[in-house]
């Protein structure tokens, strides 16, 4: 079996509205495909269709070699699904949750118990195994949810925004556990709003906007499309902005972009250290003391912004807001 997931011309309509307007995508065996897009782009709809939960209107889809319109049951034997919110029974303990899934899968009591213990061990939940899941932290619940989706030992795993709302440490732990699954040969379709997550986990990324795919490539390829490093200089007062524009503008052929609200000037950085040195010299000559002087590698955020003209975060956020927010969060790409 060469491809884990193959979809051709996948369409889904709700009333008069195309949610998915003919999507083509493939996930090779052992590959992690990142599906990136803003809220409402259709990411979850794709996952729900591929995970046999939602009917689709047209298109040809095979998963693990089986036709989605005919062999749902065979597909269900081979997939695991981890949803946006942790789909575990909060009243049952972690162990009982996993045992229940095992029994429902027809493993039989003994095997279901053994499998549950294995997964608890693997996902670092043994100590909490006999506590009700409602007492778990967000990260533990996600881990239990991921474990629950692996009771079948699936060959194809759907991760629908697996770390939304988690803190950095829990997110990194979950990423590690996903990577372990990939190392075992599991193919993954990952949807995420966190560009960094796609960057970290995915071999290849497709970008989805308004029900259609608008870009595809490795994280590196996509970043290259948008350009390399940028220099960003922010100052304390708006009055200082023209001086900064003059200083950085001398170093680049391109006109610097100015964000007056954030009091921030940025340009694509070419020419390395010499350019930086001349810019700092000019700033000093103009007696401007920058609040921040930073080199940013282009992140997946930039890729997304460049492709869709929209940030990934909630609508109404400006790009500048997003950048400012990013500086304050440790997981951002800020320099």
């Amino acid at each position: 079996m060469e491809t884990a997931i193959s979809a051709e011309g996948l369409r889904k309509r709700y009333a008069e509205h195309d949610v998915l307007a003919g999507i083509d995508l493939t996930v090779a065996t052992g590959e992690v495909l990142g599906l990136l897009g803003p809220n409402g782009a259709g990411k979850t709809t794709i996952v729900r269709i591929l995970a046999t939960l939602l009917p689709f209107d047209s298109g040809k889809v095979t998963i693990a070699g089986f036709d989605l319109s005919k062999d749902k049951r065979e597909i269900r034997r081979r997939i695991g699904l981890t949803g946006q919110y942790a789909a575990v029974d909060a009243i049952l303990t972690g162990r009982e949750n996993l045992r229940l899934i095992g029994v429902l899968l027809g493993l039989g009591r003994r095997k279901a118990h053994i499998r549950a213990d294995e997964l608890l061990e693997q996902f670092d939940l043994t100590a909490a195994a006999d506590r009700p899941a409602k007492s778990y932290s967000g990260g533990m619940r996600r881990r239990l949810d991921l474990a629950a989706s692996l009771v079948t030992t699936p060959t194809v795993l759907f991760l629908d925004e697996p770390t939304t709302g988690l803190d950095v440490t829990s997110r990194m732990l979950l990423w590690r556990m996903v990577r372990e699954q990939v190392a075992n040969g599991v193919s993954v379709l990952l949807t995420t709003q966190y560009l960094e997550e796609a960057d970290q986990l995915a071999d290849r990324i497709v970008v989805l906007d308004k029900g259609g795919l608008i870009a595809e490539g490795t994280p590196e390829e996509l970043k290259r499309k948008v350009g390399g490093e940028r220099l960003e200089v922010s100052v304390a007062t708006e009055a200082e902005l023209p001086a900064v524009v003059r200083a950085v503008g001398s170093a680049s052929a391109e006109a610097p972009s100015v964000d007056e609200k954030a009091k921030l000037v940025s340009i694509p950085l070419v020419g390395g250290m010499n350019t930086l040195a001349s810019i700092t010299a000019e700033l000093k000559a103009a007696a401007v003391e920058p609040v921040d002087f930073a080199i940013r590698r282009s992140s997946m955020d930039d890729v997304f912004l460049a492709l869709t003209g929209q940030t990934v975060s909630a609508e109404g956020d400006t790009a500048a807001d997003r950048r400012t927010a990013e500086r304050q969060t440790p997981q951002g790409e800020a320099a």
Binding site: T44, L53, L54, V88, A90, L100, L104, G106, T152
Partner: protein
């Protein structure tokens, strides 16, 4: 088939665990029927006179039992909705398991709860003066009819939950459905006092033959208070037929709704 049974048993086990771990929920489910018995049987009973000189407690108990049975509608709806809301329904639907087990698990569990309520209510009914005047088998037959209607009501509730997908909507609509079913029947009032057209509706209300059949099987029936419409003349077979007919319609619809139940986002 074996799969459906093992799956259903596993899910019934899940619900039973919920009950033992959240006793406050069990309490809230049992409290209502107990209050019903005390209010209708004891409080009203001291003021009401039943035609034919029979005790009001004897008359009213079947009506209170059926009230609990109709309450299964909301109970099962809310259960289904909570599984939809927390994403468990998605998990179950993505597993290669029986299509009906999740629903059988839910409705059977709600049926077990009904049995528990019946036991408790019968005890309290006995204390306030309710007596069964026929044999044990006849009494069990009466409870059996109630439970059959309760099972059908549960499935209808599951269908309602899968369709509406909102606890608020279920609470609102549930009352609108259950109230006329129980009050426009012989559950609490003798039908011969009603105006003619209303009497006709009440006689053909599926709740009425079940209540009347139970009264007969409990030995609680009042002579001559039953109407003369067909369901009132043949309450026991009609109770069975109507409940089975309801199941035959609702069960396939509910399974279909389950297969299409996408968690609301």
């Amino acid at each position: 088939m074996t799969e459906t049974i093992t799956n259903s048993c596993a899910l019934i086990g899940r619900h039973i665990r919920h009950l033992t771990r959240t006793p406050e929920q069990l309490l809230s489910i049992t409290l209502m029927p107990v209050v019903f018995v005390l209010v209708f049987g004891y409080l009203f009973g001291s003021a009401m006179k039943v035609p034919g000189g029979q005790s009001y407690q004897d008359y009213i108990m079947a009506g209170i039992f059926v009230q609990v049975v109709l309450g299964n509608m909301t109970l099962s709806s809310l259960g289904v909705i909570s599984d939809l809301d927390n994403g468990l329904m998605d998990r179950f639907r993505s597993l290669p398991m029986s299509r009906s087990a999740v629903l059988i698990g839910r409705t059977t569990h709600d049926l077990i709860l009904t049995v528990w309520c019946f036991v408790l209510m019968s005890g309290i009914g006995y204390l306030i003066g309710w007596r069964v005047h026929e044999g044990v088998w006849s009494m069990l037959g009466g409870f059996g009819l109630m439970l059959l209607l309760g099972f059908a009501t549960s499935w209808a509730g599951a269908l309602l939950g899968l369709t509406l997908r909102s606890a608020e909507a279920v609470n609102a609509l549930g009352a609108v459905i259950v109230m006329p079913l129980s009050f426009l029947s012989n559950a609490f009032i003798p039908l011969d006092g009603l105006p003619g057209w209303m009497q006709a509706i009440a006689e053909w209300n599926p709740v009425s033959p079940v209540v009347l059949a139970c009264r007969k099987l409990f030995g609680n029936a009042t002579p001559d208070t039953a109407g003369h419409a067909f369901p009132m003349e043949h309450p026991i077979p009609m109770a069975v037929i109507l409940s089975l007919a309801m199941l035959a319609i609702v069960v396939p619809l509910t399974i279909r709704a389950y297969e299409r139940a996408a968690t609301k986002k």
